[in-house]
Symmetry: C2
Subunit: 703 residues, 2 copies
C-alpha cells in the first residue's frame, strides 16, 4: 500500500477545491464552506479561474498557481474538464483526487473515467470516486464533501458505495447516537476500492471498527486479503442480494452485484461480520466499535424482568449463542444479589425489585468470572428504580472488575429515562439498546467476529505434490483442438495431477484395447461413450455398468457404439472410456465456478435431491485448507447423513475435506484457464476408507 499517498488523499494537510464557487447552492460553494465550517486546520485552496476570493479565502486560477503543497484535490468541475484538471494536479504533485463530479461510468462514460485514472496513475496519484459525496473525518476536523456536517464523533469508519445513503446516515448518527470518526463515499471505485479502504483504515489509529455499505465489490480476493489483515472488526451491509435487488443494484452502480451465496462465503472467509439491514448496521457497528470480541460461547444474561429475559433467551438461540446454565458456584454467589424468588440460573433474574446495588453486585461478580465469555445486562423500566443510577452502577461494576478482554452489552427498555441511561452508557463505552433482542444481536456480532476471525486465519497450505505442468499440457492440447470442453478422461487426468482420488478411467479406441484396459483396471468395470457431441451419455444408451468379463466388454463396446450412432449419426466419437466401478457409498458433489467478483469458487453439497430440490450447498472462495473443507462439510443441512445419522457408518470426512482442499487448489492454480468444473458424483466411504471421484468435468474459459 502506498500509505503516504493514501494518507495524502484521506488525511490531507492541504486541500484544493477545483471548481470552487461563490454561488450558494453550487457544490463548489458547499465543499469550501463545509471545510471552513468543520474547522479544518490545513490549507484550503479554492481553484476557480474567474474569482480572486471565495468565501474569504484567496482563490487561484489553477492548482499550478498555488504556492504551497497540495495533498488532496476535491474535484467538482463538470466531467469533461476532469482529465485536464487531473493532469494539472499530477504536475503539481497532488497525492490524491477526491472526484465528487459525476457523469462518468455510472452513466456509461467508462472511457472518460479510464482516461482520468490512467493520467492519475502516471503521476502516482490515487483517485477516490468519481461520483461521490466526498470524505468526512472528525479526528481531522475535515468535511471535504457536500454532506452538511460531520457525523456524531465516534470510533467507527463508514465506507459507502451509495452517496445518498451516506448523507442520510451522516444525519442519522445524531438521532441514533452511533458515532463515527470517518465517512468515506467511494462511488464508482475507479481506483480506490473497498480493499484499499479496508487496508488503509486497518492501520488508522482513529478507527476501531470498519463499517461498509457494499452494492458490489471489485477484486474480491484482494478484499478478502485486506479484511483478513485488517486486525479490527469489519461489518458489511451487502445490498442487491435478491435477484430483483441485484438488477436494481446493477442499474444503480454499474458494478456486478455477484451471487449472494458467494458473498456470504467470502465475507465469512474474510472474517467480515454481516449486517442484516440498515438498522442492524448501526446497531452492530456500535457494539463492534466499543467492545472487544467474545472469545467463547458462554453468554450470561442478567435481568430485572422475566419477560425481557425470555425474549433475550430466544434471541440468543436465534443468533447462534444458545444459553447454558451458569455453574453452581456462579449461581450460589449470584443468589446473594436477589430476593428468594429470583433466579440465579441463566438468565439471572434479579426481579423487578432490583435496584442499583443488586445490578452492581451481580454484574461485578459475573463479569469477572472465568466461565463468562460475554455479559448482557437487561433492564426493564419500573416506576421504582432509576435507570440512570442503574446504568452508572453497571458501568462502575464493569470498571471495578478490571476485565477488559470480554464484551458487555446492555438493553434498557422504557421511555425517556431509559433513553437517557442508554445515552450515558454509550458515552461511557457500553453499547446500549432499547430492546433485549437487539442487545443479544449486538453481542452475537462480537461472537461472530471472533468466530469468523478464526476461520479467516485458518491457513491454506499449498499441496506441493501436484503436477501443474501436466494439467496445463492437457489444457493446451484441448485448446489446440479449438475446444473448451474437456472429456471425462482428460478432466480426470487433471484431477489426478492434483492428487484427487479419481476412479481410474482410460480411453479405448478399439474393442481389443477395451478388453486390455478393462483387464488392467480389473473387473467389474463401467463403459461410457466419449464424444464431445454427446453430453447426456445415459440418454444415448452410451453407458453400461457392472461389466464382469471379456465377452461382456466386447458386447458392450459394440452396443454402445451402435446406440451412439443411432442417437446422433454425425457425432464425433473419441472412443469408449473404461472405468473402475466404484462401490456404493454416500454421494456428494464438488463443483466450481469462476465468480466474476471473487474468481475460482468451490461448491460442496450432497448429491441427488439435496442439491436439486433443497439447494443444500455451500461455497468458499478458493483455495481452502482441509480445516475449511471440514467447515464446509459441517455447513450443509444434510451433514448428519455424512456423519452416520441414519444408522450407517460415519463417512471418511477427513479424506473428503482433504479432497475439497486439493480440488480448491486445482481450480485456484488453473483459475486463468478453468471456467467451471465438477466432480459428480464423489462417493464417500466409511471412515478410513477414503472417497472416490467417479465422474469429472472441466470447461475452459473462452479466450
Amino acid at each position: 500500500m502506498d500509505i503516504e499517498v493514501l494518507n495524502g488523499l484521506l488525511r490531507p494537510k492541504a486541500i484544493a477545491v477545483i471548481g470552487a464557487s461563490n454561488a450558494p447552492g453550487k457544490i463548489g460553494y458547499t465543499v469550501v464552506k463545509n471545510l471552513i465550517d468543520s474547522n479544518y486546520q490545513g490549507d484550503i485552496y479554492p481553484i476557480n479561474p474567474g474569482s480572486d476570493e471565495i468565501l474569504g479565502l484567496k482563490a487561484y486560477p489553477s492548482v499550478l498557481d498555488v504556492p504551497g503543497d497540495i495533498d488532496a484535490a476535491a474535484v467538482v468541475v463538470p466531467a469533461k474538464y476532469v482529465p485536464d484538471v487531473t493532469a494539472q494536479c499530477g504536475q503539481k504533485g497532488v497525492k490524491g483526487l477526491i472526484i465528487i463530479a459525476s457523469g462518468f461510468s455510472e452513466v456509461g462514460f467508462t472511457d472518460l473515467e479510464e482516461r482520468v485514472v490512467n493520467t492519475a496513475r502516471e503521476h502516482g496519484m490515487r483517485v477516490l470516486g468519481p461520483n461521490i459525496v466526498g470524505i468526512l473525518s472528525n479526528s481531522d476536523s475535515c468535511n471535504a464533501s457536500f454532506a452538511p456536517f460531520l457525523p456524531l464523533p465516534g470510533k467507527a469508519a463508514l465506507v459507502s458505495q451509495s452517496g445518498a445513503l451516506l448523507i442520510a446516515m451522516d444525519a442519522a448518527t445524531y438521532t441514533r447516537r452511533v458515532g463515527f470518526d470517518k465517512l468515506v463515499s467511494i462511488g464508482n471505485m475507479s481506483d480506490v476500492n473497498f480493499a484499499d479502504m479496508v487496508e488503509w483504515l486497518g492501520q488508522d489509529e482513529n478507527t476501531a471498527c470498519i463499517s461498509l455499505y457494499i452494492e458490489g465489490l471489485k477484486n474480491g480476493p484482494k478484499f478478502i486479503q485486506a479484511a483478513r489483515d485488517a486486525g479490527k472488526p469489519i461489518i458489511a451491509l451487502k445490498s442487491g442480494v435478491s435477484a430483483h435487488g441485484a438488477a436494481a443494484a446493477a442499474s444503480h452502480t454499474g458494478s456486478l452485484a455477484g451471487s449472494g451465496q458467494v458473498y456470504d462465503a467470502a465475507f465469512q472467509q474474510a472474517g467480515v461480520v454481516r449486517a442484516a439491514d440498515l438498522n442492524n448496521l448501526f446497531d452492530r457497528t456500535l457494539a463492534l466499535s466499543l467492545q472487544p470480541p467474545m472469545q467463547g460461547d458462554n453468554l450470561l444474561i442478567v435481568t430485572n424482568g422475566g419477560g425481557v429475559g425470555v425474549l433475550a433467551t430466544d434471541a440468543a438461540e436465534r443468533y447462534g449463542l444458545p444459553l447454558r446454565f451458569a455453574p453452581e458456584d456462579v449461581q450460589e454467589e449470584l443468589k446473594k444479589h436477589m430476593p428468594a424468588f429470583g433466579s440465579a440460573k441463566n438468565p439471572v433474574d434479579l426481579t423487578g425489585m432490583a435496584g442499583m446495588d443488586w445490578y452492581q453486585g451481580s454484574t461485578r461478580y459475573a463479569f469477572a468470572h472465568d466461565w463468562v465469555d460475554g455479559l448482557v445486562v437487561l433492564y426493564c423500566e419500573t416506576a421504582m428504580t432509576d435507570p440512570v443510577e442503574i446504568a452508572q452502577g453497571i458501568k462502575q461494576a464493569i470498571d471495578e472488575s478490571g476485565i477488559t478482554d470480554k464484551p458487555v452489552v446492555v438493553s434498557f427498555v422504557g421511555g425517556e429515562q431509559s433513553a437517557e441511561a442508554r445515552r450515558w452508557l454509550v458515552e461511557h463505552g457500553i453499547p446500549a439498546y432499547d430492546a433485549p433482542d437487539m442487545a443479544i444481536n449486538a453481542i452475537a456480532a462480537l461472537r461472530e467476529y471472533a468466530r469468523n476471525t478464526a476461520e479467516a486465519t485458518t491457513p491454506f497450505q499449498r499441496h506441493a505434490d501436484v503436477d501443474e505442468a501436466k494439467a496445463r499440457e492437457i489444457i493446451a492440447k484441448v485448446r489446440a483442438e479449438n475446444s473448451t470442453s474437456l472429456t471425462e478422461v482428460e478432466s480426470k487426468v487433471i484431477f489426478e495431477a492434483y492428487g484427487l482420488p479419481v476412479a481410474t478411467t482410460r480411453l479405448a479406441t478399439s474393442e481389443d484395447e477395451a478388453v486390455k484396459t478393462a483387464e488392467a483396471i480389473g473387473y467389474p468395470v463401467v463403459m461410457k461413450i466419449m464424444s464431445p457431441d454427446i453430453l447426456h451419455k445415459s440418454d444415448a444408451g452410451g453407458v453400461k455398468v457392472d461389466i464382469q468379463d471379456e465377452a461382456s466388454v466386447r458386447e458392450a463396446y459394440t452396443t454402445i457404439l451402435a446406440n451412439a450412432k443411432a442417437y446422433k449419426a454425425d457425432a464425433h466419437i473419441l472412443g469408449i472410456a473404461i472405468q473402475e466401478m466404484a462401490p456404493w457409498g454416500t454421494e456428494v458433489i464438488l463443483g466450481s465456478i469462476a465468480d466474476p467478483t471473487f474468481g475460482p469458487t468451490v461448491m460442496f453439497g450432497l448429491g441427488g435431491i439435496f442439491v436439486e430440490i433443497l439447494k443444500d450447498v455451500t461455497f468458499r472462495v478458493a483455495p481452502v485448507s482441509a480445516d475449511q473443507g471440514m467447515t464446509m462439510i459441517n455447513a450443509i443441512k444434510g451433514a448428519p447423513i455424512l456423519k452416520g445419522a441414519r444408522g450407517e457408518e460415519p463417512g471418511d470426512l477427513q479424506a473428503l475435506s482433504e479432497v475439497l482442499s486439493r480440488y480448491s487448489q486445482m481450480i485456484h492454480e488453473l483459475g486463468d484457464e478453468i471456467q467451471e468444473s465438477d466432480a459428480n458424483p464423489v462417493i464417500v466411504y466409511p471412515e478410513g476408507k477414503g472417497v472416490k471421484v467417479v465422474d469429472a468435468r472441466i470447461i475452459l474459459k473462452e479466450k
Copy 2:
C-alpha cells in the same frame, strides 16, 4: 361472551380500590393516585378499614359500605385476604376484579387462586389476573394500574402476559411514537385469558389492532376461534420459543410454553400476524393500527435514492413480497415525474433531485393505479430537500387519490428533520420508519394479515360419511383389555371408519386363515407379526413382503412365528396380519399429537431423510379443510418432489389433501381418546391414482 360483565371489568364506570393507602410508595396509594391523575371520570372508591379519606377521596371500610354501584374492583391487598374480599365484591354485585396482588399460582399457591376464581364465578364476576399491573385506557381516561401514566394515545390495544414489560412498553410508547388506546396486564390468567381479551377487543370501537405479548396460551382452540372472529388485525410476540427460553418462560409464568412449531401453525390458522422481536411488535403494530390490509402481491416502491431502493428490494424478497416490474403504462406515466436518468421500473427511482412535486405526482398516480396493491415511499435525506414538505406532499397525494382500501408505508432515512417528518406522518395516519427494510417489513405485515385471514377463513367441512361409532367401539375394546396401544389392524379399522384409504390388512390367526385372507385380498401380499410386545417388527424378522402364492403364505406364516418366538419367547402373539402390497410411489408421513395448548394437531412431512434429518414437517391444529391440507403440502421444502420436480409424474395432491383433512377430522373427533397417531408411510401415486396408507398406529391417552 358475557359482554356486560367484561365491559364492567374493562371499561368500568365506578372502581373500588381494595387496599387503598395514604402511604406514598404503596401500590394501594399509586393506583388511587393514577386513577385521579389520569382524569378518570367515573367514581373512585378507596377501600381501607383504617382510613376515612385517601388522597382527598372518601374511603370505606369495605365494598359493602360503598353507597353506589361498583363495576370493577382493583385488588391490592395481600394474597391471603383476596378470597374474603372476592366474596364481599360478589355480595356487592361488582362485575369484575382487577387482582393486582401477587402471591398466587406464580409462586405455587394454585389452590388459593382457584378459590378466588371459584368464588368470583359463583357471583358471576370475571377476574383479571392475579399478579398484574392493572389496566390502562386512553379513551376512558382510566389508569387503574401502578404503571405511572397512560400510554401515548393511539388505536392499538396491548395485552401483555409480563407486567414488567407492560410498564416498560408504556413508557416506550412515547419515545417510539407508537400509540395505544389500551394496555391490559393479563398475569396469571386465572380466568380472563387471551381468548377473552381478543374477543372483547374485537368488538371494542376504540381498538383497531390487537397486540399481544404471549408467553403461553391457555385453551388454544378458543384463542384460534376468537382470533378468527375478531375481524381486526392481531399481532403476537410469542416468547419462549427456544428450548432454553421455554424453560425460562415456564419458570416465569407457570404456563406451558408449548411447542414453537405448533404455535406457528396455530397463529397462521388464527390469522394472527407474528412479531419477530420487541421492536418488531412496536413497528408492525403501528402499520396494522393505521393502514388497511394489502390484498395482493403487487408492491410498488418509490424512492429518491438507489441505495435505499436496493435495500428495500432485498427486504421485499426477504419478507415474502418479491418485486415485479410495473406495467408499461405505469412506467410511462411515472417517467413524467423524474429526470431522464431516473428509473420508472420498480423501485421507481425519482433520483436525489426529487422534491415535493415529483414525490407528490408519482405517488398520487401510482397509489390510484389498479396494478398497485400497496405502496412504499422511501426518502433519503439530502441537503437540498425538505423532509417535512415531502412528507406533506405524500400525504396530500394519498388523500387526493381517493383510495382508502390499500396500504401506504413510508421510510425517511436521515437525522432530526427526517424524524420530524416521520412524526408528522404518523400523526396523520401514515406509518413511517427510519429504515427502508422496516417499511417493507411493516407493509409485509399488512400482506400477511390479508393472507392469514384467507387461510383462517377456509372453512372445514365435516366429512359426514364417517363411522365414529365403529371407531369408538374399537377403542372401547382396547380399553377393556387395559391397553392404550392399538395394533396395526385395529388402527386401520379406525382409519377406514374415517374414509382413509388404507392398504387392506386383515388379521389371520391360523395358517389356513392366512391363505384364505391372502386370496381374498389378492396377491402379492405382505405378512407381518401382530404382537403388542413386538414394536419393531422388521428387527424381529416379523415381516415378509411380495408373497405371491399359497405355498409362500404357508412358509412365511411358519417362519414369522418362529422368528417372533426366537426374538421374544414370551411375546403375546395376536396373529399375523395379511396386507395388500401397495405399489411403489412417493412416501409421505402423517402424524398427530395431543398438544397441551392446542389439542389434536396434525403433522405432515415427506418420508425418510426429510423427516429424520431435515425435520421438514409442518403442523396444523385439527381439523383442517382439504384446502388447508393443500397449504400444508406446499409448506414443506420437499414439496417440489411431490409435484414431480425430478422428472417423475406429479403426485395426486388432491387425494393427499383430502386424506389430510379426513385424518385431521379423525384425531379431532376422537381427541378425547387419541394421544398420538401416525400413518407412516403413506404412498402417494401419480395424479388421479390416489394415495395409500400402508402402516397406521394409534396410541390412546392414559386415563
